[in-house]
Amino acid sequence: MAKRESTFFNMVMALLVITFIASASLGFIYELTKEPIEAARAAKKNNAIRSVVPVFDNNPSEEEYRIEVSGGELVFYPAKKDGELVGTAVETFTNRGFSGEIILMVGLLPDGTIHGIEVLEHKETPGLGDKMESDKSDFSVQFEGQNPEDFRLRLRQDGGDIDGITATTISSRAYCEAVELAWKVYIDKDADVSYELPAKEEAIDRVLPGFANNPVMEEFQVVYEGKVYNLYPGRRGRNFTGTAVESWSESGYIGNIRLMVGFNQEGIITGVEVLEHNESANYGDLIENARSDFYKQFVGRDPSGEVLKIREDGGVIDGISGATVTARAYCEAVQTAYEVYTRGERN
């Protein structure tokens, strides 16, 4: 066949046809390989998680959460068996490797003990720094089963408990730093996430002063403005020490806020606990006793003489900035508890 002439039309046509066929076939191949590529990526991560935490039966990637730290963020993968937390895989990093970033997956048991470590990514020198990979040397084994609480994550020459890799001080040091970062953030965060709202008994225990009976057994109902409330009397011998009132407000920012409020015989507030709420994280949830001291403003107050409202509404309570509606509803629920306690009619 004769060679095509290099006319303008022929050149444009040839280029157009070829690029069209090329991009169409690439699009096709891309669609074909898209899922396997995703699967390969997920498998790599899951394998790393699996090898650093004890046996689990959930999908940790689905329950991942992230915490920002300076220079990046850590990703936490909680591993659970039968719904119980058995360990957390933490994707951590350091930029202080010999050739830049090192990314590790550190497995921590719920108490902070290191269970296993895998290297996800690094650019360290082959033959030297890459010995930190778990299949190339036993370096990572020294960390296993150690709790950084009483195990110093530093190289021996830096006054720690880790034997560095020969001729690879910088990589070893960076590795320890990344592990320590994971542990520190985990321990700090742990206090936060493992906090759960108290059950009814526990809340009563916290808001009522020195009682010896079982208030839940002596629960009674009170009707106030057409609604039924539960009250729990605390007694020591034959003396009443106080009463816990379960009350709620329907004007929270997101739904109901349910409180347990304790009063002594004089009607002075002895304690407040949040039983239930749906308020926003980091704003409204500051009403929880574990997250801020907001509740302490109510303890020791006498609602008959003091206005239990936030200052903007002419009261004596400092609101929570960014969560006015929530704070207002909380005050309302405390006030309701007082009314119930003093004016309610026994059912």
Binding site: A2, A14, A22, Y30
Partner: protein, 192 residues
């Protein structure tokens, strides 16, 4: 042309790496072990054969003034296919080879075969040429990878034959240059 000669010329006499000094970047960059070298060689071989086939098929439809861009698109497409397929099914190797997979497209020897051979010859001899050249390239990379792995980590294809630290320099960048230098000297000797 004699097809047997056409096939074997790439192995020694016109070996792309040892004699023509083409495609040196992947030859040095990926040969930290025999396995990686072989993987890179096979990936390149696939691209050479496939682009040789397509170029020899389309050579009469492409006006000569735009032939280079057309060949580049063909090669780049096959490179992308290799890239995607390896990422999907050979992800550890793909990670090791990294940047050098997309860079097959600028491997002078791939475009060189398309331009110098496939655009002037029949389909059949283009296939033979691509296979021979690809094999020669794979052979060179595997050899280089093997010698670096043997000297650098006392292992071959991942099998550790001596439990001791090797001469680390051969795994590192300088060793790549030096090992290739001596292999080329050897190939020159054999070629005489």
């Amino acid at each position: 042309m004699d097809q047997a000669k056409n096939f074997t010329k790439g192995l020694i006499r016109e070996n792309p790496v040892f004699i023509l000094m083409l495609g040196l970047c992947p030859a040095l960059g990926t040969t930290t072990s025999a396995f990686n070298g072989m993987g890179m060689g096979l990936a390149t071989m696939f691209v050479v054969i496939m682009s040789n086939i397509v170029v020899s098929l389309i050579k009469n439809f492409v006006p000569s003034k735009v032939r280079i861009p057309c060949y580049i698109v063909v090669i780049a497409s096959f490179v992308t296919i290799v890239d995607l397929v390896m990422a999907a099914f050979m992800s550890p190797l793909h990670e090791q080879l990294g940047l050098f997979i997309p860079l097959i497209v600028v491997n002078c020897f791939v475009l060189g075969r398309a331009e110098a051979f496939a655009s002037k010859n029949t389909l059949w001899s283009s296939i033979i040429d691509g296979t021979g050249m690809g094999l020669g390239f794979t052979l060179a990379l595997t050899l280089l990878g093997a010698s670096r792995e043997i000297l650098g980590s006392n292992a071959i294809f991942g099998f550790q034959f001596l439990q001791a630290d090797g001469m680390l320099v051969f795994v590192l960048a300088p060793g790549a240059f030096i090992a290739l230098g001596y292999l080329i000297a050897l190939a020159n000797k054999l070629n005489k």
